[in-house]
């Protein structure tokens, strides 16, 4: 009796998957249809297999449920004694096989399309690292990193959570619509996985290897995804945001970006000779630290014992300044501590190091200037 009831409920809730998904936008229960040709094919495939399973389920559970109802001892039935029937057994070996074959054909066709990354219009090198994405446009002189923008206060309940909680970044990836965009996906440290559900693109970022994926988006818009492979402590805090713009807008954006990066580099050269005050250094340093370093070394500089070293009152942060610069600029090979030479500007590097040497009671009073970093890097080469 009750077994029947649950089964009924199960079947009903399964059925409602598709129904509610289209009816109600806020509570998504089904796979996203997505915005690309491929993602639509994937969605159709998903529904096809789902309905086939549903049909088989109805037949199998129906038969089972029928015999639970009818062939029960309390109805005074006599059990039959049959225990074999070769014909039937052959039939239910072959029929599922044919059904599977029917599913495999469209799946194969779709997969071959998805894996074909040739003839792309532009290529973006996507590099994951703990816990940010780094985007580099191969055809343009543009590269930057993309870090989650949700403030920690929201995560720890000190501020109310806002829309797109955990799904917003400081600098989204921007791609043109209507163009075949190829993603070259790799990693600097552990395995990450770059995923945008609306494109049906999910590819692992394996350190030392480059995987390829592609998409062609027709609708301009903002698309959000997340890192999909366990990559350490802040795996939950590594969102992907992609903005698709009309080709003309994209062109304008990327030219602006190239321009901005060029002036920033010139500015950096110009500022090398400038001294920053302690307050300026500490302010920029704190900003940089919270964005880039606090995930591991923690906002209070205590680190996580056994995982990430503390910086407050111990180690190079209160010791040798050159060694301190070295570890931040060049990273510590073979550990999670990566080289920040290319991700941070010299001003930021100087500021964050100054910050570490003076925050949390480290009070060394040392100031590090962009020029010091410049010298260090020059000396290194």
């Amino acid at each position: 009796m009750n077994v029947r009831l649950t089964r009924l409920l199960l079947a009903l809730s399964a059925l409602s998957v598709s129904a509610t998904a289209s009816a109600e936008q806020s509570l998504q229960l089904n796979l996203t249809r997505g915005v690309t040709n491929i993602s639509n094919k994937v969605y159709d495939l998903h529904m096809l297999v789902f309905y086939i399973c549903l049909a088989i389920g109805v037949i199998v559970f129906g038969a089972m449920f029928w015999s639970i109802l009818r062939h029960r001892k309390s109805r005074g039935v006599k059990p039959a004694t049959f225990h074999d029937n070769v014909k039937v057994e052959i039939a239910w070996t072959i029929i599922p096989f044919l059904i599977l074959f029917a599913m495999a054909v469209p799946a194969t066709i779709t997969l071959i399309k998805m894996d074909d990354t040739s003839d792309s219009d532009i290529s973006v090198l996507v590099t994951g690292s703990q816990w940010r994405w780094h985007y580099s446009y191969l055809e343009y002189d543009v590269e930057y990193q993309s870090i989650m923008a949700t403030p920690r206060e929201q995560i720890y309940g000190r501020l109310p959570q806002t829309e797109n909680y955990l799904l917003e970044v400081d600098r989204p990836l921007v791609i043109p619509t209507g163009k075949k965009v190829r993603f070259l996906i790799t990693s600097d440290d552990v395995i990450h996985s770059w995923w945008v559900p609306e494109f049906a693109v999910k590819k692992d970022a394996n350190p030392g290897y480059i995987n390829e994926a592609w998409t062609r988006v027709d609708e301009p818009g903002i698309y959000r995804g997340q890192c999909a492979e366990l990559c350490g402590r802040d795996h939950a805090f590594m969102p992907v945001v992609v903005i698709a713009k009309e080709p003309a807008d994209f062109e304008a954006w990327i030219r602006g970006e190239e321009e901005r990066l060029r002036t920033a580099r010139e500015e950096e050269q110009r500022l090398l000779s400038m001294q920053m005050s302690m307050d300026e250094l500490m302010e920029l340093g704190q900003q940089t630290y919270m964005a880039q370093c606090a995930a591991c070394h923690q906002p209070n500089g205590q680190g996580i014992p056994g995982v990430f070293p503390g910086l407050a009152g111990v180690g190079v942060s209160v010791g040798d300044q050159q060694a301190h610069i070295d570890v931040v600029v060049n990273g510590a090979r073979g550990t999670a501590m990566q080289a920040y030479r290319n991700t941070l500007s010299m001003r930021e590097l100087a500021a964050v190091i100054t910050y570490e040497r003076n925050a949390w009671g480290n009070n060394t009073g040392d100031m590090v200037q962009a020029a010091d970093i410049h010298h260090f890097i020059q000396g290194n080469q």
Partner: protein, 295 residues
């Protein structure tokens, strides 16, 4: 309990024994100690790991001596029956099968590295960009004497020592077979001589293998950490060497028992198991020789 009668119809169920528990304690101590010792060793710190490891190994030896002692005593007291003998034999074969699978993991790694990882790093298959962007200039060859990050080493040739070692090991399988024939025919002298020769060959193999390692480290710069070629080379030959060592120890124990007058045509499980083990180690070497050295 089951000592009371010897009805072949009846199964033999051994008495209680403390050794399994002792063995579990030994393994626990070894695992705990080895774990901590590895950590302390890597950090160059003093710690307690090696005490636990040492204690575990000690308990293990006590357990082996005790357990096998019991076993030998019971077997010689005629407590066992044919069925138990079959169980032991089947148990040993399945154990050897599990060892085969253990080596398969490392052979699998070797094949994967040679046929997939290294070519992909060089830009083969769907990894064209891997080669172009991440490892420009990397040359995908095997033996991999220059790793993607530039560590260099030299390959170990197959001619010379490895070939000699192959010959030695193959011969030792044959001599062990002669020893076994001696046992079957009841010719104790033949058994003793061939067994001792086999042991000697095994030890020579180990000596030469050690010499080869010294040569690799000193002259070739081929080390455990010199990239995937060195990794697979040392892990495969190393685990094989460990198995040869174990096999040699087993044979020495068997020799002791032979000299003490143990084993007959119908009571020779331990000897047979040792022989199987030795042949298995030999087969592994042949695969090693082909895939690690020659090809």
């Amino acid at each position: 309990m089951s000592t009371e009668n010897h009805n072949p119809q009846k199964y033999y169920v051994p008495d209680q024994s403390i050794w399994p528990l002792v063995g579990a304690i030994a393994l626990g101590l070894i695992a705990f100690g080895a774990g901590h010792y590895t950590i302390e060793w890597s950090k160059q710190e003093a710690g307690f790991g090696h005490y636990f490891l040492g204690a575990g190994l000690l308990v293990m030896v006590v357990m082996l001596v005790g357990w096998f002692g019991d076993q030998i005593r019971e077997s010689r007291a005629g407590l066992y029956n044919e069925q138990l003998g079959r169980s032991y034999k089947q148990g040993m074969s399945w154990f050897i099968f599990s060892e085969v699978m253990f080596f398969m993991a490392f052979f699998g790694a070797l094949f994967y590295a040679r046929m997939i990882a290294v070519p992909w790093l060089g830009g083969a298959s769907n990894n064209e960009m891997t080669g172009q962007i991440l490892w420009p200039g990397f040359e995908a060859i095997w033996p991999l004497t220059t790793t993607p990050d530039g560590t260099t080493t030299q390959a170990m040739g197959w001619f010379g020592l490895p070939l000699i070692n192959t010959v030695i090991l193959v011969i030792s399988s044959v001599t062990l077979h002669f020893a076994h024939v001696g046992l079957e025919e009841g010719k104790r002298q033949k058994l003793k001589v061939w067994l001792l020769i086999t042991i000697a060959l095994g030890l020579i193999f180990l000596g030469l293998q050690g010499y080869e390692y010294v040569h690799a480290y000193r002259d070739l710069g081929l080390t455990l950490d010199s990239g995937i070629y060195g990794n697979t080379f040392f892990m495969l030959t190393g685990f094989h060497g460990l198995h040869v060592t174990l096999g040699a120890i087993m044979m020495i124990v068997m020799a002791g028992r032979v000299f003490a007058g143990h084993f007959t045509k119908n009571d020779q499980f331990a000897f047979q198991a040792t022989a199987w083990y030795w042949h298995f180690v030999d087969v592994v070497w042949l695969c090693l020789f082909v895939f690690v050295y020659v090809l």
